[in-house]
């Protein structure tokens, strides 16, 4: 299929994200065949959340929308670099959104690469076992996060979703820097314990 395709997103409403593996399948179809329908599915699943993410990071609605579009267009362009054995489709797309946010909202250079390393060509897909392990890991991290004491959970959310540095979190919560650091450290140690045996 050639030419410009216009996707009407006016119907794009919040919907429950489909299972991660099927999202990875869509990515693969984009990579292999430039499948526009697969892209539409990804767009509907992710663009509304990327937009919210950008707004939480301080973007106004218009900028957030542009950045959501740009994130998904990057997904389209780089689909071939996605590799199922390095993480879920959501992880990959979130990382693209994160880097775009550093680049465009903070106007800083991104030093930490995508999880697929240094933009090398993707290796073959995850085996079913790897995909299962990935899903198991996701479920456990989710549970461990939900069980964190609220002060630790808050620090983690401010870091990941609002994009605040340790000192900015300390300022926001009116806490000593050391307290913020130890809350984040404790949160991580609990989450790591929950997935330790999967490594």
């Amino acid at each position: 299929m050639n030419g410009l395709l216009t996707i009407d997103r006016s119907q794009g409403r919040a919907r429950k994200c489909a299972r991660p593996m099927s999202m990875a399948d869509f990515l693969q179809r984009i990579a292999e065949a430039g499948d526009v329908e697969a892209f539409r599915k990804l767009f509907e699943a992710y663009a509304p959340r990327v937009k919210s993410y950008m707004m939480r990071q301080g973007a106004d609605a218009n900028t957030a929308e542009e950045l959501a579009q740009e994130t998904l267009l990057t997904v389209w362009r780089k689909a071939r670099l996605y590799s199922g054995d390095k993480g879920s489709a959501t992880t990959w797309i979130f990382t693209i959104a994160r880097n775009l946010r550093i680049d465009k909202l903070r106007r800083e250079q991104t030093w930490v690469a995508l999880p697929d390393g240094y933009d090398q060509e993707a290796s073959p897909d995850a085996t079913p076992d790897e995909a299962l392990a990935q899903e198991e890991r996701r479920v456990r991290v989710q549970r461990a996060l939900a069980e964190l004491p609220s002060d630790q959970h808050e620090a983690v959310v401010l870091s990941y979703i609002e994009g605040l540095s340790h000192s900015e979190i300390a300022e926001r919560l009116e806490l000593p820097l050391g307290t913020v650091k130890s809350r984040m450290r404790l949160a991580y140690l609990k989450i790591r314990d929950a997935v330790e045996d999967l490594k």
């Binding site: 050639n2 030419g3 410009l4 395709l5 216009t6 996707i7 009407d8 997103r9 006016s10 794009g12 919040a14 919907r15 994200c17 984009i30 430039g34 509304p48 959340r49 937009k51 919210s52 993410y53 959501a68 579009q69 998904l72 267009l73 389209w76 362009r77 780089k78 993480g87 879920s88 959501t90 979130f94 959104a97 994160r98 946010r101 903070r106 800083e108 250079q109 991104t110 030093w111 930490v112 690469a113 999880p115 060509e121 890991r137 991290v141 870091s159 990941y160 979703i161 994009g163 605040l164 540095s165 340790h166 900015e168 130890s182 450290r185 991580y188 140690l189 790591r192 997935v195 490594k199």
Partner: protein
Amino acid sequence: MTITHHPAPESLMSCSAGSMPEAFAAVMASHIAMCPTCRGDLAVMEQIGTVLFDEIASTPVSGPIAVDTRRNVGPGRGDEKQLRSDGSIPQPLVKALGNSLDQVSWTHIGPGIWQHRIALSRRGRGSLRLIKVDPGRSLPEHGHSGSELTLVLRGAFRDESGSYNVGDVADIGQDVEHAPIADADQGCICLVATEGQMRFKGRIARLMQRFVGF
């Protein structure tokens, strides 16, 4: 290469969240490129980001999006091929420094001490530089008005807190004063991120600071 000094988990987390001041993110990224242990931790941390991202409520996206589906501009093979490091320099620094430590140009800033500043984005927070210390030489004792993150790229150094070899990270807090000494045989080249100024103690060191903006 055995790495014994790793960054604190909360620093790695901030890095995975994309929330770290740029100069520090550069040091972290370089360490991560050298350290399989931290890459393992980072994978778990990226999962944390993914789960939180998944839990964000959606905001409706309006208006159409145009995707150019012509194959020549469609899903490509990514960006242009990157220059690969010759092994002496972590891959994330190659864009800023070239692919070998041996090609770096140095500015002499004091007895046995050299530096190479690395430009950050205009709004980037903190400052980033390579510091080269000749064998057996030491940096004047100094404290910091902010934190300092150091990664050894070649040789080794030691200070009051221990000895640091290639790949090791020293995370120096705001209130710590130290006088690092470079390895007697190989000297030391480090990547150093600082937040705020270093505060030198002696008179000569303070003069040096005034002239070179160290």
